[in-house]
Amino acid sequence: MLKASLALLKRDIGLSWSRGGGPILAVGFYLTLMAMIPLSLGPETQVLARVAPGLTWLSLALASLLSLERLFERDYEDGLFDILRGGKLPLEAIALIKCLAQWIGTGLILALLTPMVMIILGAPVEAAGLSLVAAVLGSLSFALIGGVGASLSLGSRKGGVLIALLVLPFYVPPVIFGAGLMQAYLTGAPITQALGLLGAYSLFALALCPIATGAALRSALN
């Protein structure tokens, strides 16, 4: 079981890191998005600083969306699931491993960059640590929830937009908590509540999403 899990994790992380994927791609994408924000909103520092946390979180959510489409669909069409089901891992474990690999390959890297981006957009340097923790938690929940969406839309060949539609509503709470957390930090309000909510949400996602994804995969595969 452990060997199989590790093999799958290794394969999926390898796929997202290989051939210039992973870090460069994530960094480039995030930077591009971040550069577009002031350009579209106008460069007034005050407004920017005001909306920076929210927009950073929105970008994090959107970046997590972009690679969801290939989370299961390609493997599904290539017939990989026929092999995966021939092993000992239940579909729930397969779902969890694939989501984690997806997260490590993209979301986590983005989360690590978040403090820097917030600072560029005008957040104070002291907020870095907090925003890092929040972004790591948030991106994990994005990846897990994204897995549910990706598995639900499997085989519909509608991909991207459909998944986005399914998934975005569930991205709202982390975005609110995350952005609110930064807001609270900046105004000196207490932050434990928002951080607690964010953590709880991620834990919930960790517990429930693999089950939902596994069920959706099972129904898609039959």
């Binding site: 210039g20 460069i24 550069a35 350009l39 520092t45 560029i120």
Partner: protein
Amino acid sequence: MISWLANPERFSRIFTPIRPYVGVAAALMFMWGLYLCFASPEDYQQGDTVRIMYMHVPAAWMAMAVYLIMGIASFFGLIWRHSLADVAAKAAAPIGAAFTALSLLTGSLWGRPMWGTWWEWDGRMTSVLVLFLFYIGYMALHAAIEDETRAAKSTAILAMIGLVNLPVIKFSVDWWNTLHQGASVVRADGPSIAPDMLWPLLVMALAFKLLFVWLWLLRIDTELMARRYRALRARLSFAEEGN
């Protein structure tokens, strides 16, 4: 001339011996340049921080020049299909990206004392950031496409489209009234900068250019060797296959 040089073997034969001299020349120029930088007078307005200029301006120039070189090499690669052109463009990209990052970094370090902010969304800064993104996009695309010839073509198309950004960077200071100052060295009516600041600047610029050429030749050679290795390996494995 270009097509004569475009033969990879000939290229290596000619430039491999020259390369160490370029490296040494770059090192010497850097030493001289750095000496001049610190020997040059402080600016009456900016004080010591003006010395950032001797890094910032050459790096910014190189950021643009390297992209231009990539664009031209890509053009030759597309039209005449010289694989060396692609190797040259590919080898230049990370160096250009590093120069761009350096100019962004020094610019924002300089911006802090000068304008009171690390970063400002003015035309020039933004367009240089976009240039950086082009470099990243170029490298990411090159890495993402497995097939060598296809990667060459696709990235060449991308590099050529990206050339439009260069005039934007150059003239952004004229088109938008922004914080960044206008041209004072490269301008129609001659440089408007004090000579004892111009000198160190020019020496540093030359040092940067030599550094680039050295790194570039090194990377081209490495890439050529990697390709030769892959070709050889493919042939060998194919020859084995029959048994």
